[in-house]
Amino acid sequence: MEDNHNPVYKDDAYGKSRELSYNYLEGGNFERTVGFHGEADRVVLQQAWDLFRERIEDARQRVLAGKASPVVYYMEKNLLDPLNLSMMAGMSVWRVKWHMRPGVFKRLKNKTLQKYADAFNITPDQLMKIE
C-alpha cells in the first residue's frame, strides 16, 4: 500500500527505500502502512546534510591552504567530532587535537598514521593527501 499523502522522491534515497510506519485513525484503530518518507523527514535530513557538506568543504579549504592537517578533513568527512574520533582511533582527545596541526601531522610515525587510517577506513597513503 502506497502512501498517497507523501510526495515520492524517486531520484533520491528517500524515494528508494520504503519504511513501515504506524498510524492512528480516529475511533481507536491503528494501521500499518509501508510508504516513502514524508516531507518533514526530507527537510530535516536535507538540513543536516547541508550543514555536514558545508563543514566538509570548509575543512577541505583549510587543509588545502595549509592551515589544518588532513585529519581534520577526514574527521569532517566521517561526520565525527574530536571526542568521537579519539574513541575510534584509541587516543586521547588532546592528542587528536594536537595532530590537527599540519606541522605536527607531518612528523607522525607510521604507527599513529595507521591508527587514523583504520579509524577512517582508508589506507595511510590516502590519508596523506586529500582529493
Binding site: Y24, F30, R32
Partner: protein, 341 residues
C-alpha cells in the same frame, strides 16, 4: 573462516522499530507468534531522555529509545524464555566465529551494529548511530544474509563489512554484542503477567524516575530549552538543534513519534487480550491522539527548518506544543498507573 553454506529458513517481516522487530521475528522463528507492538510494549521500548551536555552529530543528544538490547532482554525475562545475551566479545574474529557456529547449529542470531558503515543503507541515512539491530540468518561463502527490519527485503553483507559494523566505535559501541533464543518454545506462554510487568516498568521509567532529564520531565525540560535556543545560539544553530529533535523523532526506523503509535497499538492489543479491558483501550486511544500531536509537531518544526533564518513558526509555539504533548503523555501514564487488571 570455514567455507560453509547455511541459510536458515527465517521469515523476514518489516517493522517500525529495529530491535522490537528483530525480537518479534526471533520469537516467531522459535514458535511464539508475538506481534511487533507486543514485543515493543513488553520490552519497554518507550523511553525518553534529553542530555543537553552530550553532543551527537553537533547537536544535543536526544534519545527516544531505551538502552540497546533492553527490549530483547526484558521481554525474554518477563516472558520467562531461555535466551542468551553475549554482551561483549573482545576479539572480533572470535565474535564472528561464534556467529558462524550459531548459524551452523541453525540459530538465527541478533546483533547490535553501527549504522555509519552499513553498506545496504541509503547513504543519506548513514549517521553515527550505534544502537541499530539486525538478525543474521545465513551464510554463503563470504556473504552473510541479514534481516534488517527497516528494509523491505533481507539483505546481503560481506564478512569484512559485518565485522566492521559490529565493532563500530563511539558512544554505545556494540562491541560485538549478540543475542539469541536457546530452545524452541513448545509450551504456550502466558502473556498477561508479562504485559502487566512491562506496563509498570514503562510507567516507572516515564514518570517515576527522580531525575529531571528522563521521561516526561525530560520532555518538559527540552521544551523549555527549545524556547531559549534562538536567543542563546542564533537562528541557524537553533534550527539545526530543532532538526536534531525532528530527525530523532522521525528517522532512524520509525523514530520517537512513531513509537507512540506502536505503544498505542500495544495497549490496544493488550486490552483485547484482557477481554476488552476498558481502561487499556481508553489509554490506547489517548496514546494514539498524543502520537498524532507528535506528528503535527514534526510538521510544524519542519516548516521552521525550511526557512532557517526567518522561522515561520515561533519557537515559543513549538515549545508550547511540546509542553502540551508532555501533559497529555503524563495523563496516559497516570491512567496506566492506576489500572487494575
Amino acid at each position: 573462516m570455514a567455507a560453509t553454506n547455511t541459510i536458515i529458513n527465517f521469515t523476514h517481516r518489516q517493522a517500525g522499530h529495529c530491535e522490537s522487530g528483530a525480537t518479534s521475528n526471533l520469537y516467531k522463528f522459535n514458535g511464539l507468534d508475538i506481534s511487533e507492538p507486543m514485543a515493543f510494549g513488553i520490552g519497554n521500548g518507550l523511553y525518553f531522555s534529553y542530555i543537553p551536555f552530550l553532543k551527537i552529530q553537533f547537536a544535543p543528544m536526544i534519545s527516544f529509545r531505551n538502552l540497546p538490547n533492553m527490549v530483547f532482554k526484558r521481554s525474554t525475562t518477563y516472558l520467562g524464555i531461555d535466551a542468551t545475551v553475549v554482551k561483549k566479545v573482545k576479539d572480533p574474529k572470535e565474535a564472528m566465529e561464534m556467529l558462524d557456529s550459531n548459524l551452523e547449529k541453525g540459530i538465527p542470531t541478533g546483533c547490535q551494529v553501527g549504522v555509519f558503515q552499513l553498506t545496504f543503507f541509503p547513504p543519506e541515512y548513514r549517521m553515527h548511530y550505534n544502537m541499530h539491530n539486525l538478525v543474521v540468518f545465513g551464510k554463503e561463502g563470504n556473504m552473510y544474509h541479514v534481516s534488517d527490519t527497516v528494509m523491505e527485503t533481507p539483505q546481503l553483507i560481506t564478512y569484512e563489512d559485518l565485522l566492521r559494523v559490529r565493532y563500530a566505535k563511539g558512544a554505545f559501541a556494540p562491541q560485538g554484542k549478540m543475542y539469541w533464543i536457546n530452545h524452541r518454545i513448545d509450551k504456550p506462554v502466558d502473556l498477561k503477567p508479562a504485559i502487566i510487568m512491562g506496563i509498570k516498568k514503562t510507567v516507572y521509567e516515564m514518570i517515576g524516575i527522580p531525575f529531571p532529564l528522563i521521561g516526561v520531565k525530560g520532555l518538559r525540560w527540552m521544551a523549555r530549552d527549545l524556547k531559549k535556543w534562538p536567543a542563546k545560539h542564533g537562528n541557524d544553530t537553533a534550527s539545526f538543534y530543532l532538526g536534531q529533535i525532528l530527525r530523532m523523532a522521525e528517522d532512524f526506523g520509525t523514530g520517537g513519534a512513531g513509537f507512540r503509535y506502536i505503544y498505542g497499538a500495544f495497549l490496544k492489543e493488550a486490552g483485547e487480550l484482557f477481554g476488552n479491558h476498558e481502561g487499556l483501550l481508553e489509554a490506547s486511544e489517548m496514546m494514539g491522539r498524543t502520537a498524532n500531536k507528535w506528528r503535527e509537531f514534526t510538521y510544524m518544526g519542519a516548516r521552521n527548518c525550511k526557512n532557517r533564518s526567518k522561522p515561520e513558526e515561533d519557537y515559543g509555539t513549538l515549545s508550547e506544543k511540546l509542553l502540551e504533548i508532555a501533559a497529555d503523555e503524563q495523563k496516559v501514564y497516570e491512567k496506566l498507573k492506576k489500572l487494575r487488571f
